[in-house]
Structures are given as structure tokens and as C-alpha cells.
Symmetry: C2
Subunit: 321 residues, 2 copies
Amino acid sequence: MAVYTEVPDEALEAFLAGYDIGALLSVKGIAEGVENSNFLLVTESGPYILTLYEKRVKAADLPFFLGLMEHLAARGINCPLPVKNRAGVALGELAGRPASIVTFLRGVWVRRPRMEHCAAVGEVLARLHQAAEGFAITRPNALSVAAWRPLFAMSAERADTVSQGLCSEIESELDYLEARWPAALPFGVIHADLFPDNVFFLQQQLSGVIDFYFACNDFLAYDAAICVNAWCFETDGSLNITKSRALLSGYQKVRRFTPEEVAALPLFARGSALRFLLTRLYDWLTVPPGALVVPKDPLEYYKKLRFHRHVADASAYGLDG
Amino acid sequence: MAVYTEVPDEALEAFLAGYDIGALLSVKGIAEGVENSNFLLVTESGPYILTLYEKRVKAADLPFFLGLMEHLAARGINCPLPVKNRAGVALGELAGRPASIVTFLRGVWVRRPRMEHCAAVGEVLARLHQAAEGFAITRPNALSVAAWRPLFAMSAERADTVSQGLCSEIESELDYLEARWPAALPFGVIHADLFPDNVFFLQQQLSGVIDFYFACNDFLAYDAAICVNAWCFETDGSLNITKSRALLSGYQKVRRFTPEEVAALPLFARGSALRFLLTRLYDWLTVPPGALVVPKDPLEYYKKLRFHRHVADASAYGLDG
């Protein structure tokens, strides 16, 4: 839930005057998205999403994000398409922040994903990986294994206030993952945040993928592991293997995992569980009182991490080697 | 900013199946409105607003609010029109809460109202007062003078933590207003919350009025005083008499105030300033940390109250008797 920035009327009008999308008919702040301020614009030519990039998004990364959406949309991925202003530029400034307008995607995100949703997500993830090939800009994953120890250092002192023993458990997990993280596996552009609220469905059909503001270059199978964590656990913290099998099979309908990727999947599931545990832990401990965002429960990912630690191989996720 | 209730997919689908508005294409929580959860729905037949009524709105009052919007819309006020389901009913239940769908109004609310906006608001307020005549249901104003002392009792102890001396000042104000509040003046349905975020404009023309969830029966001139407080003060706390003159003239283009109403205006301005001071003070002192709503500054209305206390007569607002 997020609208961090109020936009003065005159500033919005001046901004929109630079675009060829017709007069403004409505603008409403959207209570979704955690990193940026999002508004649903309706103009004479239809609905759009206006995003103001808040300080957690680096302005230098915006050409990567906007260019990637354009690249993917041109290759058949149904994602928001950045709208260029009359000067041919997709990135502007509004209310002192970098700002962009993108096309509006129809669809509704699924609050309680079922097996068929997981299958569709796996498939679109693989299509996204393939469609991103040839994209000219690269962006290293700022939240991969090398970043986790410094990230944890900002929460370590107070980690045990969230759960007794959490601090030492994360430390041993960092040792384990840093020692085993692979160096060479199929690599490319990953979405890195393909949670249920970033995937739209219409009448049970996947209709679009949004929010590319964590996208980066990393191991493709790591992205699949993020999705297993995000889509295939029940609310009681148990893995639903029917869902993870569906997700991974959906992926392989488009792109087969190599044997090395299959072998790395449990490690990637552990690593991605730790990555979300760490960012949520940091947010949990630092979000100020009165903030507009309710921090997400870090312990959800602590439970997932503990599950993956007992996994022997990828068959635990329904993936046969 | 408010979305208090998550709506499960299946529940929303089942709810919409009762309506004849086409299949759902999109649903997004709206970061506006403080009392209820609001969603912008897009269906095959267009955009709508879905509202889930949270506990601060009494279910027994909903027929008044929904019936009033229907009554006003039928009489030419551009306000949301409640959509009836196939059973002919505008009020349903969703996610354990009373829920309704209303039509979507085009327009943008004005962050920095100018004189011409104030004139348009005065005019639409008078038109609303006239259009509401004949509406069959009545609802006493639960936040009028009789409610202020018990409301203040819930904040009195901690009032001085917000501003030193606030407690005794409010008490003497209550004495003053209770002793002088009029008994008989033109009375009818008032909006009671016609703040800038509840009035839409399109290309400088007033395009609609929303949020009737404080509407009630009370003195018509009191509603005008609420608008003077809401629209005509600068951010530094000073009254802009050009704006208040425009607002009150706009009102009188449609409906003339009686001499008694003109005489009562300073008192109503004091009373309505106190009413918003009291509710904001209560919210300020009781909103829990981590709430999704940032409480509004009560001291804004403290300053307005102090201004009105030094007003001799309605000419201070640009209204000639």
C-alpha cells in the first residue's frame, strides 16, 4: 500500500501536457506496491499507471527497468509498456521525483493461488527468461548472495528480538550458502520478485506480469526458486508439492532446466528464502511508527528457509532430475 | 488512504455474479478515503467504485446514505449512483462487511483550491441542499453540538500533550457554543464533509461530489460554514476572504441565506471548527502505531477556531447581511 508523494494539480497537468494521451479525467492513488507511489490515471485515451519513483529505487536503474519492459512487450510478454512523451522519452520528473507513465494491464491478482495458477506462472517465467535474451542493458543483482551478509549486519543486533536464536541461525546459513553458491549456471535477466500480486489473471488465464523494479541479471533457476517460495507454500507454512510440481513443469514446457540447475534448486530455494527473510527482517526492525506500509512478516520466510534446509534434492519440489 | 479489508478472489467473484455489470477486468485498492475500504473495479461495462463499510460506519445508516445518493442523482446532482444487483438491492455483503458498488465519477480533486473552485463548491452545496428536499429518510447529525462534550471527554486528559492549554480552551468553547447554539434555522439534509477531496473538477468545471457518509439532517448554513473552513484557509492558517466571499456568493446564487443564517454564520464556523478539531484530536491520540492512516493534524482546526473567535459578524467572511 503506497502513495508516498502528493502531486500538486498544476505539476500533474504540466507533466501530462508533455504526453500525447489526451486530457486527464481521473487520478487515484493506488494502495498497492511498496517501493513507489502509484496512481491510476484515466485520460481521454484510456487508463494508465503513473509511477513516481521514491528513494529506494535508484534513478540510474530506471533505463534498465523501462527498457526491459519495452523489450519484453515487443517480444510478446504482456507487461506494462512505458509511454513516451512528445520528446520520445519514457522517463520524466514530477513532484521532484523520477516519474513514468505505463500502459494499464487488465487482470486481477490471485489472493489464493491454485495449482493451475502456479503452472501458468512457471510458464510465463520461462517465456520471460527467453524473451529477455538480447536485452542490451545489464543490471547486477544487488540482492544476491554477496549482499546478504552486509544486509544482515544492519539487523543482526536486534534479530533475536524477532525470534530467539534467529541471529545465529542466519549466520550459519550465510556460511553455508556463501561456501556453496554456484559460479556458472544459465544466466540472464530475471524478474526476481514474481509474487502473486505481480501476476494478473482474467477468467483463469494469465493476463500479464507487472513490477519489474527488482529485475536484474542472475541465474535463471534462482528466479524459479523465488517463485516456488512465493507461490507454492500454504498459509500454515507447509510446501504444497502439487503446486511446486505444476510451477516447475510449467516452466519446463518452455525451457528445460539443465541437470546442474536441477541439482542447484534446493540451494536456490534456501538462498531466496534467506534473501526475503533478510529484507523483511530489516523492514520489520526499521519501519517507523505511522508509516503507510505494514511490514511483511519476516518469520514467514524463516519457516520456508527451515523447510528447504531439510530438502535432499529437487524431487522434494516435484522436479525429477 | 485506506484499504482495511482484503477481499478473497472467490468472494469477490461470487459478489459480482449477483450484478449485471459484466465480467471483472481489474480491481485495485484506492489510497483515498479514511472510513471505508475502497476499490476501483473495472468490468466489461466500465469502471465502478466498490466500497466495504468498516466498523466506523453504522450498517443501519447505509440505507440513508445510498438512498440519498440515488435521490440526489435523480435530481441532477452529479454524485455516485448506487448500482443495484439482480435482486434490485444496492447493499450487499462481502468479506464479512456491508458492501456496495457505485458508479465511477470522472474528475480530479483539487489539491490547492482557487477562488473559482470555491465559487463552484458554494453553488453545488446549495444545489445539493435543494435537491435533497423531499428525501424520505432522516438521520440526525451524530456529530453536532450535543455530541461534542462526550467526544471531548475521550481526549480531554491528554489534550494538553498536543498543545499546552488546549483542554481548558476547548472546555470554555464548549460552554460558549452550547449556550448559544440556535434552535430554529433552515434545516435539511447536509453533506457535512464537503472537503476538497470530495469534490471533483474537470477542466476547471465542477464534475461531481462524492462521499456522503457523514450526510445527515442539520442546519443548512452549518454546512456552508464547514465548507468555509475546508476550502478558504491558506496553509499558513489565515482566512482568504476572497475565497470565502466566492464560496458564499456561489451558494447564494442558488439559495439566499436568511438574515438569521447570516447572523449565525460566525457561530457555525466556530462550531464546525471545533467539531473537526475534536474528531482529529481523538484520532491523533488513539490511532495505533502501524495504522494505515496518517491522522490529520488537529492543530489546523485549533488555529481556525481561534480565528473565528475574533470574528464580529459574517462580513469577516465576505458575506454582507
